[in-house]
């Protein structure tokens, strides 16, 4: 549009929007900063805070500034065209180990924990984990799950290997990390919601690299699970410019799971159901990683629906928990083998179980669509049609991811909101 435009943005997003404007080639764009939040305020509060209020950055009246931003003539700087080329900066840094650790911390190349410094030798050793050309560009990443808002940074096999070294990974983990990175899915989303990423790993690679899928399967209790999860976050920070508070991270509360994410190797051996990857169309044994995003998981014991008793109706508890989940990421379950076996006694297949659980309506885009639409005949809202078999929804959908992992030492399990996206064959990255 070749007419003057002003975006109204909360002043809390000032740093983020200034960076965004610079990256978009309009560093002086005339944004109007207002006091937030807007959501949940009454009209009287909005009138006081915004219409008759001041820009929290400049301290001047909001509406007067809007008029000025429409009418004040452009400067020569505002009319500039051309291209600014950028690089990642120097390819190497030379200093003492102590100074390099400090520099990596200061430049926010880390997750604030000590890292393994990526020397040429260590990175060369890491690259032995793949036959891929180190200079092959394998992906691009940005700090938002929906893409398009932030710029994408590109990266190579070697860039992934550098971050794998920093996370403390072994070379045999590299193919899995390359598979994950190739999707461009960021582990750390900019969203103020405070999302978390999750990886579900199936197939032979679980034993090949020592992923834990028995007692303490989910969490920092095995080298592979921990460092792979950490590497995904470092990849997001350094290869996708994610996780920079104030610009590319705005999680209102934050999320501690962003440190190592949720890495789940499925306990296929003790699960009474086919592996998750098989239910997504892969062969049993094929090494596959599936990426998820959402709110995370916590013990199902936290829900009131989890009625404790000497006899437990786990399918009904799952159904009741499902009914309590929000629309954005739906429901997911992480069942320990004993719980899965209880469920199996009643539901022979996952499809039957999913149909019984009757998931919450999927996200349809925009808050205005939160309410179910009336049917074409004007009656009650139409029931959501089930997804065709074998197809996974791009966003939301009727399928409930159910993963089986962990030990058999007690009847504990987890539930939460995580939505799967891509599943990737790891063998292609060996």
């Amino acid at each position: 549009m070749r007419i003057p435009a002003i975006a109204l943005v909360l002043s809390e997003f000032y740093e983020q929007e200034k960076e965004k404007a610079y990256n978009e080639g309009m560093p002086n764009i005339r944004t109007q900063w207002v006091l937030g939040p807007v959501w949940a305020k009454t009209k009287e509060q909005l009138k006081k805070d915004v219409i008759n209020g001041v820009n929290p950055i400049s301290g001047r009246p909001v509406m007067q500034e809007i008029v000025e931003k429409f009418t004040k003539p452009l400067s020569e700087e505002d009319k500039k065209t051309g291209e600014i080329k950028r690089t990642k900066g120097p390819l190497t840094f030379t200093d003492t180990e102590e100074n390099l650790h400090k520099m990596f911390l200061d430049k926010r190349y880390t997750d604030f924990l000590p890292i393994v410094l990526p020397t040429e030798e260590r990175v060369a050793e890491m690259l032995k984990g793949t036959s891929r050309d180190p200079d092959e560009v394998i992906g691009r990443m940005s700090p938002t799950n929906t893409g398009g808002y932030f710029e994408y940074w590109t990266f190579t096999v070697k860039d992934v290997a550098i971050n794998a070294v920093m996370a403390g990974c072994n070379p045999e983990y590299l193919p899995l990390l390359l598979a994950v990175a190739s999707t461009g899915k960021e582990a750390i989303s900019v969203s103020d919601n405070g999302f978390v990423g999750a990886l579900v790993i199936n197939g032979d690679i679980r034993d090949e690299i020592g992923l834990n899928y028995d007692v303490a399967a989910v969490g920092p209790y095995a080298h592979a699970n921990t460092t792979i999860g950490r590497a995904w976050s470092l990849i997001a920070i350094n290869l996708g410019n994610c996780g920079k508070v104030g610009t590319t991270y705005m999680g209102t509360i934050g999320n501690p799971m962003n440190l190592i994410n949720i890495v789940i190797a499925e306990n296929e051996e003790k699960s009474p159901y086919p592996p998750f990857s098989v239910r997504r169309g892969f062969q049993k044994g094929e090494s596959v990683v599936t990426l998820f995003e959402g709110w995370g998981i916590l013990s199902a014991a936290n829900w009131g629906a989890n009625r404790w008793g000497s006899e437990m109706d786990y399918p009904q508890i799952m159904k009741d928990i499902t009914a309590q989940q929000g629309f954005l990421f739906g429901t997911c379950f992480v069942l320990s083998p004993p719980i899965a076996n209880f469920v199996k006694e009643r539901f022979e297949t996952m499809e039957e179980l999913e149909a019984f659980l009757a998931p919450a309506p999927a996200f349809g885009g925009g808050f205005a669509k939160m309410k179910p639409k009336p049917s074409a005949e004007g009656g009650e809202p139409a029931a959501k049609k089930p997804m065709p078999k074998g197809k996974m929804p791009a966003f939301g959908g009727s399928s409930i991811p159910i993963i089986v992992t962990g030990g058999s030492n007690n009847n504990y399990w987890s539930a939460g909101g995580l939505r799967p996206s891509q599943s990737v064959l790891i063998d292609e990255w060996r």
Binding site: M1, P4, R30, E83, P118, V123, R140, N241
Partner: protein
């Protein structure tokens, strides 16, 4: 006997102190200059920036039409309709129009509305969410 034992103990302690002092001292003296190492830059590559000129400004708001667009985030309609009222009261010769962006989500495009604004509007305010 006791005198001899005490003297011996004192002598041992002194010897220990001398040894430990000389040990620390020799460690400081023997410490080599801190070795420098070279590490690789862990960053990805950002894209080039294409500078875009801003649209020409208006000389006045009189007789002009300002579209005030709601991106659909909760509560945006309350604020933006108050803005319409403000323009009506303070700039009676300016037309302020509230429009709710379509496209299925607050991040998606609405080409039809953009075309309408470009054709009929002189300026636009877009109310972002939150």
């Amino acid at each position: 006997m006791k005198w001899y034992m005490s003297a011996g103990l004192i002598a041992l302690l002194c010897l220990g102190l001398i040894c430990s002092f000389s040990g620390v001292n020799s460690q400081v003296q023997a410490a080599p200059a801190e070795e420098q190492i070279t590490v690789l830059n862990p960053l990805g590559t950002p894209p080039p920036i294409t500078l875009k000129p801003m649209a020409p400004r208006l000389d006045t708001l009189d007789g002009k039409t300002i579209y005030i667009v709601d991106d659909g985030y909760i509560g945006g309609d309350n604020l933006l309709n108050l803005m319409v009222v403000w323009f009506n009261e303070n700039y009676p010769n300016t037309t302020a129009l509230y429009k709710r962006k379509g496209g299925g989500g607050f991040e998606s495009e609405d080409p039809e509305l953009w075309a309408e604004i470009e054709e009929k509007g002189d300026a636009v305010i877009i109310g972002m969410g939150h």
